[in-house]
Every structure is written in structure tokens, then in C-alpha cells.
């Protein structure tokens, strides 16, 4: 979690700093370098659920994601594999392509349920030749955008490639430097309100 505004007060030189300071769920800043809390679904590095172990996951990832092997070829490969293990207690990573697909579909981590609602045109209808779409119900499928955004923000892969707050950057010649969305004027204007209180020389920054 991130606390997004800090108030800095200097008697002689008011200074504005917007900085994303990592904080706990109560909004209290945590010491620099504190690792994020484990995810609720994080059961440790040895947990490959729903896969039995790492090789089984890597096999599925290679066959399905990288090589995009057809279902017939998956069955053929697994049959050959099983034949090499006859007479032992060992088994190939999956029985057949259905077993593989079932396992992939049951992956729980980061999954957000699909939901749907139906809507219907409720404007005026023409007197005749009513288009079919005006009377039909239409289905919209979606996933909870709030949860999707939580997942993006919680993705540790983006560490160092994400801006927690809007910022403005200037070079030595006072040229405004733009890089990425949060360095832009739109983001800055949306999030930052500055109130001057001249008598006490305090600048309030509100996000």
C-alpha cells in the first residue's frame, strides 16, 4: 500500500514533495526496504498447486503456452512417455491432453471470476420494421475492474516500472521532461491541488 501525499513545511523555503511512501494498511509509513506482505494465496516457493511439482508445471507451460502443441500430439507424446515407464512406479506428468487442460483450468492464483449482465435497448421504437437488436437482450461479460487493478498494482514484476504518484521533472535548462503517463500534465492536474497559506508559509498538497 502507498501513502500518496506528504506535507513538508520549511520556514524559509516552502517545498513541495509528492512521493509514494510505502505504508501499512492503516496508512502508517513503513521503514524503507520493508518487503511487501505475502499474498493470501502465497503458500511458499514449493507450492505448485494445482500442479504436483515444478516439472509438471513446466511441462504444462511448455506444451500449452510456448509450443502450443495440438491435443492429438499431446496424447501421442504422453503415450510414448508412459511406454518408457512401463514396469516402474512412475507416471508421465499427465494422463492425456484432457488431464492437462483440466489442471490448467483449475489454476486458482490470480483468477478473477467472470460475471455477466443483460441489457436491452429502452429507447423509442420505430412504428414498423423494428430492427431485431432493439428488441433483443444483449449479454455483457466482464471481470471486476477493481480486482483487476488490484492485481496489476500487486504484481511484483512491475517493481521499479511503476509510478506511484504523479511527478514533474525538469532538466537543467528548466525544460519539462516527459516520460510515461504519470509525468504528464493531465495526471498532475487530476491528482494535485495546491493551497497557499501565505501567512504561515505552508503549502498543502492534496491528492
Amino acid at each position: 500500500m502507498v501513502c500518496n501525499f506528504n506535507l513538508y513545511e520549511y520556514l524559509n523555503e516552502p517545498l513541495m514533495i509528492l512521493q509514494g511512501v510505502p505504508c501499512d494498511e492503516d496508512g502508517i509509513a513503513v521503514p524503507e526496504g520493508t518487503p511487501p506482505p505475502p499474498r493470501e494465496t502465497d503458500n511458499g516457493a514449493e507450492d505448485w498447486t494445482p500442479y504436483e511439482n515444478r516439472p509438471q508445471f513446466e511441462f504444462a507451460d511448455y506444451i500449452y503456452t510456448k509450443n502450443q502443441t495440438s491435443s492429438g500430439s499431446i496424447d501421442q507424446l504422453l503415450n510414448i512417455w508412459a511406454a518408457t515407464l512401463v514396469g516402474t512406479d512412475l507416471e508421465p506428468p499427465f494422463l492425456d491432453h484432457k488431464d492437462l487442460y483440466r489442471t490448467i483450468d483449475s489454476t486458482p492464483v490470480g483468477d478473477i471470476t467472470w460475471e455477466s449482465f443483460k441489457l436491452k435497448y429502452n429507447g423509442e421504437l420505430p412504428d414498423d420494421d423494428i430492427p431485431a437488436w432493439m428488441e433483443a437482450e444483449h449479454e455483457v461479460w466482464f471481470r471486476d475492474p477493481r480486482l483487476l487493478i488490484h492485481n496489476i498494482l500487486a504484481n511484483a514484476d512491475f517493481n521499479g516500472e511503476i509510478d506511484i504518484s504523479p511527478f514533474q521533472e525538469y532538466d537543467a535548462d528548466d525544460n519539462h521532461r516527459y516520460q510515461n503517463f504519470m509525468s504528464g500534465n493531465w495526471a498532475w492536474k487530476q491528482a494535485v491541488r495546491v493551497y497557499f497559506c501565505l501567512s504561515s508559509k505552508i503549502i498543502y498538497i492534496h491528492c
Binding site: M1, V2, N4, G20, P131, A132, W133, A136, H138, E139, V140, W141, F142, R143, P145, L148, I149, N151, I152, L153, N155, D157, F158, E161, I162, D163, I164, S165, P166, N180, F181, M182, A187, Q190, A191, C207
Partner: protein
């Protein structure tokens, strides 16, 4: 925390059209992640939903 939401839809990538309705994917990203991350599709751009577009409008 300020999280700008970026939405986009692009019919050309859809492959689930059925019957009298086309489904247009709607993608979501946030302004906080850097452009190179969003372009690389490393889960920086996610599928939010499908808009039902009746054919023949």
C-alpha cells in the same frame, strides 16, 4: 492513491464471435505502469470484458 484507468477496445483481435452478436474485447490498464511494460503485455494490459455488438446495426 491516484490510479488513472486506461480502457481500450479493438475488434480485430476478437475470435469468439457467435450467432448474431460479435463480442469486442475491452482491455484495461493503469497509467501508473510504464509504457514499456504496457506494450510488453506482461499482465500490464488485462482483459476487462466483452462488449456485445449486435450485427447489422
Amino acid at each position: 492513491m491516484f490510479v488513472p484507468i486506461i480502457l481500450g477496445s479493438d475488434k480485430t483481435t476478437v475470435s469468439v464471435a457467435t450467432g448474431h452478436t460479435e463480442y469486442w474485447p475491452v482491455y484495461l490498464s493503469i497509467g501508473n505502469v510504464h509504457n514499456n511494460v504496457r506494450r510488453a503485455h506482461r499482465n500490464g494490459l488485462v482483459l476487462l470484458g466483452f462488449l456485445a455488438i449486435p450485427k447489422g446495426i
